[in-house]
Subunit: 239 residues, 2 copies
DNA sequence: GAGTGGTCTAGACCACAAT
DNA sequence: TTGTGGTCTAGACCACTCC
């Protein structure tokens, strides 16, 4: 007995719940109402709510814990490490590198930032440059750009930025990074990259150009990394 | 009213069906029995079969067509192009490159092949070297190794190999490639790579080291590619 | 019209966590 | 003991394909 609507009920339920997540009705770590409560509220059966939740769990937006309830995902360290950080030392250890911030500045968008972050000509961005190190050895030089409008006070943090920026986006600005697209190339290190990576100018480095997408589907961060892959590699699983 | 077993019923059903796929009881393109038929045969409800099929569909092993039935996936060109070929021209066009075979040989395994393909010291491998081109411009130099035992007559095909090897593995040898793991690095082109890619020796090239995994979980192909990323890029979606 | 997958429901029971 | 998610079932109806 579907009420109104054209799409399958469980998809409508999925979209309603996702909307609430985007609006911040529930925050990371929060406990959702039980399946029966949601079913009663939305006038559908528990099985339909379950199927909607299934999809959100598959998208890593929710986590189920048997006997306890369904929670909003916390994307903290584990996710930063295993989901968004694909560079892995050759010895196979999966450590998150430390980072040293080199510079934070505010500027008008350039063409690349404009198109990547879908900004307008007049917008300003915050740019962060940092080096990331494993065992005190520099392995990547990163340049990060975000909209100043979306992250207003970020530049004011001085150089006291957390190692995992995505956690901060979530806790301080309510912006959850849900996915990302990366483009990789092999390029010759320029003078700056070479300097920070302790390499010769022109040495081959792995360039990673990442656009991070928020829950609502909007791009919120452009990150261009140059990596020394002498002792580490980028891993991708195709399945 | 579960019959025997400890795992959830639908997982047992999923494993049984997967076993049959691995054994080749159904070949790519075949129509599976209907959900009701499978349910009756396995003494479970239709909903349980459905949940098992759901997982196999999610793994891209099966395809459902409403009103027609459930089919074994055909991994042909579409999959080769969109699933296993992550190199994309800068203009965004998604064309599968052509290939020119340079050499096929048979040899004792080397250390890398042994560990990647889980072979023993005495095994032999077939090695293929080829160049792949887009618009007649060479973009990657590939070296491919497979066990001669698993692909006995492959070397005899002379240089008449299809562009998409995975289709051939499936149709000629019953080996379905289900997933792959890739490791990427930026390296300096050696003399051979530079020659085939029309680059200067030492130019930065993207090295992709891929191990392809068959349906049964065994590694069956090692492929090391060196790519000129001047006009194309490796794309990865993190989600 | 017959057969297939797709959706939705309702109810039973199990496994687990908290109290 | 209570409440949660996890599994399993049975039956109804819909949407699509084919004959």
């Amino acid at each position: 007995m579907p009420t109104p609507g054209f799409n399958p009920l469980y998809q409508q339920v999925r979209d309603i719940l996702k909307e609430r997540l985007i609006k911040g009705a529930w925050k990371p770590g929060d406990l959702l109402p039980s399946e029966m409560q949601l079913a009663n509220e939305l006038k559908v059966s528990q099985g339909t709510v379950r199927k909607a939740l299934d999809e959100l769990v598959a998208q890593n937006l929710l986590v189920r814990r048997q006997g306890r309830g369904t929670y909003v995902s916390q994307h903290d360290l584990h996710r930063s490490l295993f989901h968004f950080f694909k560079l892995e030392p050759d010895d196979g250890s999966r450590r998150l590198p430390t980072s040293r911030v080199l510079d934070i500045s505010v500027a008008k968008v350039n063409a690349e930032e404009r198109s990547a972050l879908k900004l307008s000509k007049a917008d300003t961005v915050i740019r962060i440059a940092r080096v990331r190190l494993v065992d005190d050895i520099p392995i990547m030089y990163e340049r990060i750009s975000v909209s100043e409008t979306r992250f207003p006070t970020l530049a004011g943090n001085g150089e006291h930025l957390p190692n995992t920026l995505y956690s901060m986006y979530s806790t301080d600005y309510g912006v959850t990074i849900a996915s990302a697209q990366e483009e990789l190339r092999a390029v010759a290190a320029d003078q700056i990259q070479a300097h920070h990576l302790h390499l010769a100018e022109g040495a081959p480095v792995l360039e990673i150009r990442r656009i991070a997408i928020a829950l609502d589907g909007n791009p919120v961060e452009l990150r261009v990394s140059h990596c020394d892959t002498a002792n580490c590699r980028y891993v991708a699983d195709l399945s």
